[in-house]
Every structure is written in C-alpha cells, then in structure tokens.
C-alpha cells in the first residue's frame, strides 16, 4: 500500500506533534520525533496493512518517543513523567519473542509493544478494553502483559511508580 505521506502530514501532522509534545515535553525534540514518526511510516509503506491512520501514527509516535526517553537521563518533574520514564526504561516482558517495533504489529505478525500499551493505560487513561481495541488484543491479554511489566518496573523502581491496573 503506497502511503501518501504529504496528505498524512497535512492532515495528521498536528496530532502527531501533540502526541510527541505530551510525551517528550520539549518542543524541539517533539518536532524531531514527529519527523521520525513519518520516516517510520515511509520506510514501511509497502508493507502496511490498511488500518486507521490516526491510530497507526499515534502508536508509531509513542514508540519513537519511548525509544528517545529510554536513552535520556532525565529527572522526572511529576508522577506522570516518573511513570512514563519508568515505562520507557522497562524491558519488554516478552522482548525475546515479540516485536520490538510497532510496525511489526501493523504487519499483522506480532503483538504491540507492552511498553506502548502501558503508556496507553497508565498515562493516557484508556481502559484495558480500549487498549485492547487499539492493539488487537483482548482486555485480559492486555492485563496479563501489563501485570508483568508493572512487576518488573516495581522490582527496579518503586513499587508504586505505576498505579494499579484498572478495568
């Protein structure tokens, strides 16, 4: 499927930039991450399945930002940012067996990153069912994955960095 990146940029660029701003809290870094989000879209253009473009770009942007946060040494300014940085630094519970990149999910071959799901649930406030709809898993499957990730974060950080899972 050929991606009309210009149309995507005009229509959804503002949304991608807002997403990157929210996660990175830095205008310059957010613009850079927005560009990288579209780069990822372009590079896989002939392998993308037809799916909701806003969801697709939001997920790619989330992954791009998480990867950047993972390499930064930033002091969190509030509990939300503390949770986000903990998620970014967390190892994927299934790192050896599952996708390490959102596009593999988009190709229909691998489940979405647990870290991205954690951001959707713990930071964005989506319910487990809503997260499941975004990534093509059941709410129960999302719950299991997030429990594992939360336990790993609790082992390394503080037990309460990530709140309890809510339905």
């Amino acid at each position: 499927m050929a991606i009309d990146v210009e149309a995507y940029y005009r229509d959804l660029g503002p949304m991608v930039l807002r997403r990157c701003r929210r996660l990175l809290r830095d205008e310059e870094k957010a613009v850079d991450a927005m560009h990288d989000t579209f780069v990822n879209l372009l590079r896989a253009d002939d392998r993308l399945v037809d799916r909701a473009p806003a969801s697709l770009l939001l997920q790619i942007a989330t992954r791009v930002c998480l990867n950047r946060l993972r390499t930064e040494r930033r002091r969190p300014e509030d509990p939300d940012e503390e949770a986000l940085l903990a998620i970014a630094a967390a190892d994927e519970p299934e790192a050896r067996s599952i996708s390490r990149f959102v596009l593999q999910d988009l190709l229909g071959r691998e489940p979405e990153s647990t870290r991205t799901m954690a951001v959707l649930h713990f930071l964005d406030g989506l319910t487990l069912e809503e997260v499941g709809r975004e990534v093509g898993l059941t709410a129960e499957a999302v719950r299991k994955r997030l429990r594992k990730l939360r336990a790993r974060v609790a082992e390394r950080e503080r037990a309460d960095v990530l709140p309890e899972l809510t339905p």
Binding site: M15, R43, G125
Partner: protein
Amino acid sequence: MTPRTPDWLVERLRAGDLPSGEAERVRARLEAEGGLGRLEALRAEDAAFAAAHPPGPALGEIRRRAGLLGPQRPSARRRVILPALAAAAAAAVAVVLLPRQPGLDARLKGMAPHLEVHRQRPGGEPEALPAGAPVRAGDLLQLSYVAAGASYGVVVSVDGRGAVTLHLPEGGGRAAELRRGGAVALAHAYQLDDAPGFERFFLVTGRAPFDASTVVRAARRIAALGAAETAPLDLPPGLAQQAVLLRKKG
C-alpha cells in the same frame, strides 16, 4: 468519578478514524462531560500547524531521513576515496587470506559467497574483522567479497540509525557482475560515522541478474521494523545472503 475522555480517543475522533459505534460512544462521553470544546481547540491548533511547520521543508527532511531521495549514496563524510588503501587492502586480502591463483575457484567449490571486512590501522596492515568485532566512529573499513561461484552481487549496509547505504554497485541499477578468483576488494573504503549500536553489512548474490533496489528495499524494511541488527533480508527466491555485524563502541 469517570476520568475525562483520553486525548488519544479525542484525537481519533477528530481524525475520523474511530469505528462508527465507538465514535458515537466517545462523542457522547465528551458531551456528557462538557468536553466538546476540546474538539474545537484541536481544530484551531490544526489550522495553525501548516504555518508553523510548513509541509515543504518538513517533507523534505522526512524523505531525506527515510533515504527516499534515491539509494543513499555514501556521503563524502562516510565514504572516502582512497585508492591506495583500497589497493593495499586488496593486496593484503589477496595475499593474507585468499591468494589469487589459477584454480582457486575450484577449491572454493562448496564455499558460500561471503564478505570480508578489514580495518585500516594507521601505519599498519589491514586488520581482519570477524563478525561481532567492535568498531568505532571514524574507523576506515575495506569490504571485499568472495563470489564462490555466484555471478551477480549487491552489498549494502544498515546502521544503528536505520540508514541504508549501497556499496555495490555504487550507482545502483543492476547487481554487479562478480569477479572470481578469491577476495575482491570494493573500489572504495568506507568510513564509519557516529551512528550508534552497530553497522551490519549484507552481501546478496544470485546466479542471474537482479536489481540492486530489491536489496535496498529489503534493507529499509528491516530497518523500519527495528530489526536490522538481527533479521535476515526478505528477498525473492534465487537470491542468497550473508551478513556481517560489527558492534559500535564509544
């Protein structure tokens, strides 16, 4: 108390890509919490976006990063034309590793086509780098291939930033006709830049002609998937591949 509707869902509603039932549910939730003004705020922000981030320069930058302005040619910074090094490395490879002799291809029967990588050491002989060897930004590498019976070949590399570089044939187009007789050094040495993590080189070979762009696209795909460090290239039948991974340090 129900938390306010997540931005994620409002964005998707604004973009019009929620399934109809879910769109109605999210709109009703927004309305119930008095949040329809959030959609208006997004519209206003969207309208201001083009002026602050005009598509022309942004798309140029995006395409540049994606390497879609044609196969990425080795830049002056990354590839350096050093005939002397190429000749020296070729000679070292030929002498030290695979002496060119009549009948050598017969002895290579059973050997798979593969790449050899050497690092130039200041004032010294090129150093053979095994797979997994540590390298640094600024290292000067000489690539050589051993055709081992294959007729056509393409050499590409992918770095830790996902940049794909075509090394052979340098101008793109049809795969290079491979020379036989042992290790054959590529025309130019290659200087590593500061991309983090790794540099992975692929030699793709076939008995029939094929297009270098097939290999470049396959390399870009694994780069886009974040799998360039480990995944094989997804290639058409009839093509063989061999990869050498070098790990970037410092």
